[in-house]
């Protein structure tokens, strides 16, 4: 069964701390994504990666960075956490077109609810 896991369901950090959110997928997918979800704003793409060591900015990359050293793992880094980064963070992965039954179908993890105090 397809699986995307995230390191924590709930996380509380203080302003200015460096925060790492980890995501692991076991489907050998090339593409991985980080979103944040806030009430009334839907899902917004922060960064995505289409290969190891490759990354592309999404719609709201400011204040975030990412790392993809291995195919199965995609990390989101908050260099200096701020209160406006309090949110639900969702990781997803997908296979390239032509693989699997649907085009760019994304598989999501359960999410990490981050609170920055």
């Amino acid at each position: 069964d397809v699986k995307v896991t995230q390191s924590s369901r709930y996380l509380v950090k203080r302003t200015g701390e460096k925060v790492f959110l980890e995501c692991v997928q076991d489907m050998d997918h090339e593409n991985m994504f980080w979103y944040r979800q806030d009430p009334g704003l839907g899902l917004r793409l922060i960064y995505f990666s289409y290969d190891v060591k490759m990354k592309e900015k999404g719609d709201i990359p400011e204040g975030y960075s990412v790392s993809r050293e291995k195919k199965e793992r995609f990390s989101l880094i908050l260099e200096s956490a701020s209160t406006n980064q309090t949110s639900m963070y969702l990781c997803a992965s997908s296979s390239p077109p032509g693989q699997g039954s649907s085009y760019n179908e994304q598989f999501f993890g359960p999410g990490t609810r981050l609170t920055v105090l």
Binding site: D59, P96, S102, P110, G111
Partner: protein, 111 residues
């Protein structure tokens, strides 16, 4: 990048058929229409995808007219467990492109 527009919210009674329409006037030739469902405190999950005409699976049906400028997700005989947010988006078949989930449609099923 094709922008999609859908209602913010809908209410329905249990047992009724629900149709959620999505507008995508600028859809590209190689885009498929994809719908996701999200329950509270969970990530979205794929429910159906189509290019033209009608697609049906065990969860829903998807109707896409010939001009492809809109699509309709149909949920037959909804139950309370169908209460969720439903997202319509365009997914490229021609190599990965960024997709936009937007705010989705919040469906509330009433007993």
């Amino acid at each position: 990048l094709a922008k999609t527009t859908q209602p913010i919210s809908m209410d329905s009674y249990e047992g009724q058929e629900v149709n959620i329409t999505c507008s995508h006037n600028n859809i590209a030739t190689n885009d498929y229409i994809t719908w996701y469902q999200q329950f509270p405190s969970q990530g979205p999950r794929f429910i159906i995808q189509g290019y033209k005409t009608k697609v049906t699976n065990e969860v829903a049906s998807l109707f896409i007219p010939a001009d492809r400028k809109s699509s309709t997700l149909s949920l037959p005989r909804v139950s309370l467990s169908d209460t969720a947010v439903y997202y319509c988006l365009a997914s490229s078949s021609g190599g990965y492109q960024k997709v936009t989930f937007g705010t989705g449609t919040k469906l509330q099923v009433i007993p």
